[in-house]
């Protein structure tokens, strides 16, 4: 059986295919088709099957990471959406948390709510904080509101009532009514989407889900039929932002789960590959065209967060914690009027792109500097499929940067690189200090199209000792999709101080979600696959406002004391003190239903190859003080276990790795490059 992982990016769609017997791994890349991403997916799948002579009927798994929902929000292309909410609270979406997005820059505005004010309709209903009804919605009145909303042209409706995380009854009554009188409307209710307290975040997440729902459904229909047309007999899975996969039906109900999922697959892939080679303390370093994504893996586990913004709108969902900065290959270098050289955060993007890519770009970018310095292939990239022009880049750097600063072209180019290194290193330091870790114990996992171009300098700047570059680093996100499990997250707010008499309530919430999780697994799990329910509690000392997650082996009547001890310890570890006599408040109960996917051997053993066979050319590369003759190797022809020293460049289809003078590199049996820094 063959398994295919797909990652849809802004410029390219990446593919990784492996067979479960572990015999072969194939990588592929095609230009993305942003108007309908399923076209590039189908084209790439057809090509990779054909190139490797694989019968489509033998494909047993297609998983893909998509930016369809995220882009819909960023570009404002969702459907006209309505909101039904509690009387007195229709502006919750517009007020948000009452903060302005930029402290100093008044030209930066709060995002406009996804639902216009006249489509935010108040229903005369109210629950108290315990979920007891104070005012029950009047069915007839609601029918009129829904009809008016429908007449205004909405295609989707979000329902978000106060305290519905305690009692979903009112939301369900109204939903059922809509399903009855306007069955063609897409409906999302907040108690289903995210049953957590704090009205703005919950309703924002729900509104966003409704806003992207209908068009995500259409996209999935197209994708399914194209994949079926390719002769593949199974349904595609979709990657979600908490690092797992969802079946089509769940994505149709909860498309918001896929928002910001793209970079998460790379982190999951890194954790998985790291575990295979006994690297458990990892900083992931994913550099693309416009951004650098950094995250931390410790004890083999990625870190999670529960709140991120999608185009300024909060999405309250558990997701892999990733720190993003605006530094990438397309970052523009320019001199400001007071004489400083700045690199990013503006990017030339895919279009017009770097000057040397000949797509019409006119601003000097980081990629242009890499080409001028001889680090990136100065003739063509993507195994010769994409021509580049070094001369144009050199001319522009001379005119825009080197001339005004009174530097040589290589000094100016190296300066651009140094500043990018400083920006990226700052992001890495901030991620590690935030979690209280010492960087010297970590290995840098570099991937994305440009990660391993910069990893060597960044590791030196941050005091990291080791770098790992997985095979085809530019396609790691597609590979991460192959290394993930099916999973779905559930949450319920408790807000009780942990005591024997309240613990029963917490256990009850866990039991309810366990039922939901089992039902979901019963319909969606792959036959014969191992299943698991994972429970955790968000808790804090009473009076605090930030909670920390505490994972439990199981949630039952007997584990209260164990939980209490675990919380005190976790608080001490994270914040440096514990308050043994203070009450502990349980904010949320979380449950993750997991179906383990059989992954086979991820990568075959590397055999044969040698430095001589792998040597493509020797070219001049500038390393800060001088040009050095540098061997350039083709990665696929390098042998495992044979160390070589820098300076060296390793090229492959989707990435280029730079090894500095004084550093040594070696391939392991899986084909990962390990670079050791001089100590």
């Amino acid at each position: 059986m063959y398994r295919i992982g797909v990652d849809v990016g802004g410029t390219f769609t990446d593919f990784v295919m492996l067979d479960t017997e572990g015999e072969s791994t194939a990588f592929h890349k095609v230009p993305s088709t942003p108007d309908d991403p399923s076209r590039a997916i189908a084209a790439g799948i057809n090509e990779i099957l054909e190139l490797n002579k694989v019968d489509p009927a033998k494909v047993g798994y297609v998983g893909h990471g998509t930016t369809v929902a995220t882009n819909m929000v960023i570009e404002g292309r969702g459907v006209p959406t309505g909101l039904l909410t509690t009387k007195g609270f229709r502006d919750v979406l517009a007020i948000g948390r009452q903060t302005r997005p930029s402290l100093y820059d008044w030209s930066v505005r709060k995002p406009e709510p996804l639902v216009e004010r006249y489509r935010r309709i108040e229903v005369d209903e109210r629950l108290d904080k315990d979920g007891n009804p104070l005012t029950v919605p009047d069915i007839k009145a609601v029918m009129e509101l829904v009809t008016a909303l429908k007449d205004s042209g909405v295609e989707a409706v979000a329902i978000g009532f106060l305290h519905s995380y305690r009692n979903p009854e009112h939301e369900r009554v109204v939903r059922d009514l809509i399903n009855e009188i306007a069955p063609d409307l897409y409906v999302s209710i907040s108690s289903d989407v995210v049953a957590e307290f704090r009205e703005f975040e919950r309703i924002s997440t729900t509104a966003l889900n409704a806003y992207v729902g209908p068009r995500t459904q259409k996209y999935l229909h197209r994708l399914r039929s194209r994949i079926a047309d390719a002769g593949i007999r199974i349904e595609p899975l979709t990657f979600h932002s908490n690092g797992g996969l969802l079946p089509v039906q769940t994505v149709e109900e909860l498309p918001v789960l896929t928002c910001l999922s793209g970079p998460a697959a790379g982190v999951i892939g890194s954790a998985h590959i790291g575990t295979e080679i006994s690297e458990t303390e990892i900083i992931t370093f994913d550099v693309g065209g416009t951004s650098t994504d950094v995250s931390l893996i410790t004890k083999g586990q990625p870190q999670f967060t529960s709140s991120r913004l999608v185009a300024g709108h909060p999405v309250r969902m558990p997701m892999v914690d990733i720190h993003v900065i605006g530094a990438g290959g397309g970052s523009i270098a320019r001199i400001d009027d007071a004489g400083a050289l700045k690199v990013g955060p503006t990017s030339a993007g895919a279009v017009p792109g770097p000057i040397s890519y000949l797509q019409g770009g006119g601003d000097v970018t980081l990629t242009d500097a890499n080409i001028v310095l001889g680090r990136l292939n100065p003739v063509a990239l993507l195994e010769g499929r994409m021509k580049v022009d070094r001369g144009l880049a050199e001319e522009a750097i001379k005119k825009q940067i080197a001339g005004p600063l009174g530097l040589s072209v290589e000094e100016a180019s190296y300066g651009i690189l140094s500043i990018a290194t400083a920006n990226m290193s700052r992001a890495i330091r901030s991620v590690s200090t935030e979690h209280g870790h010492d960087l010297s114990n970590f290995t840098l996992f570099s991937f994305g199209g440009a990660g391993s171009l910069h990893a060597a300098e960044v590791a030196e700047e941050c005091g990291l000792r080791k770098i790992v570059v997985p095979r085809e680093p530019g396609t790691l996100c597609a590979r991460g999709v192959l290394l993930s499990d099916l999973s779905r997250d559930y949450v319920r707010t408790a807000l009780v101080v942990a005591r024997p008499e309240t613990w029963r309530q917490v256990v009850g919430l866990g039991d309810e979600m366990a039922e939901n999780g089992k039902d979901w697994l019963a319909t969606e799990a792959l036959p014969g696959a191992a299943q698991e329910l994972q429970v955790s509690l968000d808790a804090r000392y009473f009076g605090q406002s930030h909670s920390i997650p505490i994972a439990l082996q199981e949630l039952n009547e007997d584990v209260l004391e164990a939980f209490v001890q675990k919380f005190h310890q976790a608080h001490a570890d994270q914040y440096g003190y514990r308050l043994d006599d203070h009450g502990i408040e349980i904010v949320n109960v979380r449950l993750k239903a997991v179906c383990h996917v059989k992954k086979g051997n991820a990568v075959p053993r590397i055999q044969g190859g040698s430095l001589q066979k792998a040597l493509l050319e020797t070219r001049k590369v500038f390393f800060g003080t001088s040009w050095k003759d540098t061997p350039v190797y083709r990665r696929a022809l390098l042998a495992a276990g044979v160390p070589f020293s820098g300076p060296a460049i390793v090229e492959e289809m989707s990435g280029t790795t730079v090894i500095l003078p004084g550093q040594t590199a070696e391939l392991d049996a899986f084909g990962n490059i390990h670079i050791s820094l001089k100590s």
Binding site: G88, W106, R109, K110, E199, L405, L407, Q544, H546, Y577
Partner: protein, 587 residues
């Protein structure tokens, strides 16, 4: 180990590339100090409201880099270092020392709850830097819990005054001093924990700075600092040179009162001009020292002015001494903007907010027309409900500061319901409030007709209606702009005014003044707070019909209000647009 960056990249004697690399390394240090402070501190003010700042100074006391989440702290670290160097000659400062202070008059503080710790960094015998932080402590004694009563009449009612003094001497922490401080606060344990965190934060930053200096040498460190300060100064000078300064520009705004009940309104006046390339902010004409705690101490004035300059001229400008050298503040002694010891200063944020609005107003004619805007609501309204929570049997205090309307800009409507200028605090979610306190919220919404009309509409204010569930609930509330709204600009109309109403729509409805202290509510009583909106920009008659139609459709303005401001012709056209063909004949 690190490659030395080429030093050939000079403009006007500085190395552009090395400076940018250095700036990132410095910011890593202040970011790490900030994270450490937030993670380790105990009190909610620092940990969750992020009411603190960290910074790195050079050995001569010049601010090089600062990390801050609220503009009211901009430059507030400088007072502590100035006071330290004024009190102790450099040769009396020893490795292992750490200094503490909070007093606005004797030691460059802004109000007493903000306590600073400054720690010298030595490399060998050379004093090369100071690591400094300031944190808002929940209580430093005084007349009321929290130590900031608007009605305090002297700083002696506001808590413990600490001059610049050693809290650690050559590595030995002065536990006696910590005991003395903690005895003077209502939350002694918290104080000692947080002060120790402040000391440790500087030590941690100091270690990282030491590594950086080891790498580049003291001379390199000092050269890059000079580059950075010169660059910042040059960058601000360029922005100043772009100002349209043919004549000084003046703006006056008025506080409703001076903090005490029945007090007269207080003018806040500023005149902005440029002399010899420097920005002059002259506050001549501002009111006398307030009797209540609205006085703006020197460092609060600096923070407010620096915030405004950064926001108006260059939001990305690094806040360091290079920026501050080009800003001259002239504030007559004995006025609300330069009070004398022992005038009370605890609630200065209210006045700072209005003063920021005045500075924004004065700058408008000077800046690029593409960046101009009308006045924002410029208030820091707050309410506090307190009493015994019958469910827990414990005393509770529930309060927050509320957002209002941003001023309309020359190219867009004002933002609705936001914090402006020197604060940016999160709201209290309704579901959090109702879970924690015996209160129920009946309405939380944007206020119709509160945004000033204009070509561009001012932002809307917020309204919140809260019902007490029990007798003997104590209510205090504090707002401003109950007498006149935020001015519009270039023909725009003023924003709506604030109101406080008890039991709206019920028998015994009562309009309250803008400051209410310690009023007792019975079960079922409600308080409605209406926050002012922002001013409009440009003449209302220039607003496109389609936008008026959308405002009417969205009930942002009522038809009556629209007719008064936009005139019948425009409103009829807008209504026609909304209702398709039917009403066109009527128009």
């Amino acid at each position: 180990m690190n490659k030395q960056i080429s030093s050939a990249g000079m403009i006007g004697g500085f190395d552009a590339i090395a400076m940018e690399v250095f700036a990132n390394r410095l910011l890593s240090i202040t970011e790490s100090m900030a994270i450490n402070m937030m993670r380790s501190s105990f009190s909610t003010q620092i940990k969750e409201r992020r009411d603190f700042s960290v910074g790195l100074f050079d050995g001569y006391g010049r601010l090089v880099a600062q990390g801050t989440h609220i503009p009211v702290h901009l430059g507030s670290l400088m007072g502590a270092v100035d006071a330290l160097l004024a009190r102790y000659p450099r040769d009396q400062i020893r490795p292992g020392d750490a200094f503490i202070c909070n007093d606005p008059y004797a030691a460059g503080g802004t109000h007493l709850p903000d306590i600073s710790i400054a720690t010298p960094l030595f490399i060998g015998d050379s004093l090369v830097a100071f690591m400094v932080n300031i944190g808002h402590h929940n209580d430093v004694g005084g007349r009321v819990p929290g130590s900031t009563a608007a009605t305090a009449e002297s700083i002696f009612e506001e808590g413990l005054r600490i001059p610049s003094m050693r809290v650690r001497r050559e590595g030995e922490v002065d536990e006696d001093l910590l005991n003395m401080i903690s005895l003077n606060t209502r939350l002694p344990e918290e104080r000692v924990l947080d002060l120790k965190v402040q000391v440790a934060t500087n030590d941690r930053g100091g270690e990282e700075a030491r590594k950086l200096i080891d790498r580049m040498g003291i001379c390199g460190f000092e050269a890059r600092i000079q580059d950075l300060l010169d660059y910042t100064r040059r960058r601000l000078e360029l922005r100043i040179a772009e100002l349209r300064t043919s004549a000084p520009s003046t703006f006056t705004t008025y506080l409703d009162d001076d903090g005490l009940p029945g007090g007269d309104r207080v003018p806040l006046k500023v005149t902005v001009s440029v002399e010899d390339g420097k920005l002059i902010l002259d506050f001549e004409g501002s009111g006398l020292e307030a009797r209540g705690a609205l006085n703006i101490a020197q460092n609060a004035l600096r923070a407010t002015a620096y915030y405004c300059v950064k926001a108006l001229l260059d939001p990305e400008l690094m806040a360091n001494s290079g920026m501050m050298e080009s800003i001259v503040l002239r504030a007559p002694v004995g006025t609300i903007v330069n009070p004398r010891d022992p005038a009370p200063v605890g609630s200065r944020t209210i006045a700072c907010q209005r003063l920021a609005g005045a500075i924004f107003g004065a700058f408008q004619p000077l800046i690029d027309p593409e960046g101009r805007m009308a006045s924002s609501y410029d208030v820091l309204p707050s309410y506090v409900f307190s009493g015994l929570n019958p469910q827990t049997g414990k005393y509770y205090i529930c309060g927050e500061t509320i957002g209002g309307g941003g001023g309309a800009r020359c190219d867009s409507d004002g933002m609705d319901g936001v914090h402006v200028h020197i604060t940016n605090s999160l709201n209290l979610p309704i579901e959090s409030m109702e879970n924690e306190y015996p209160l129920i919220c009946e309405e939380y919404a944007l206020l119709q007709n509160s945004g000033g009309l204009g070509r561009w509409r001012g932002g809307m204010g917020i309204t919140r209606t809260i019902r007490a569930l029990h007798d003997n609930t104590t209510v205090s509330a504090r707002s401003d702009r109950h007498n006149h709204g935020a001015p519009g600009a270039e023909g725009g109309e003023p924003g709506g005014m604030g109101r406080l109403i008890r039991n709206p729509g019920a028998d015994g409805e009562e309009m309250l003044p803008s400051k209410v202290t310690q009023t007792i509510f019975r079960a079922g009583d409600t308080l409605r707070i209406e926050i002012p909106g922002g001013g409009g920009f440009g003449r209302p008659t220039n607003r496109p019909v389609g936008m008026i139609a959308a405002d009417l459709r969205d009930e942002i303005i009522s038809e009556d209000h629209a007719r008064k401001g936009y005139g019948d012709t425009l409103v009829d056209a807008a209504l026609a647009l909304l209702h398709g063909g039917e009403k066109q004949t009527a128009a």
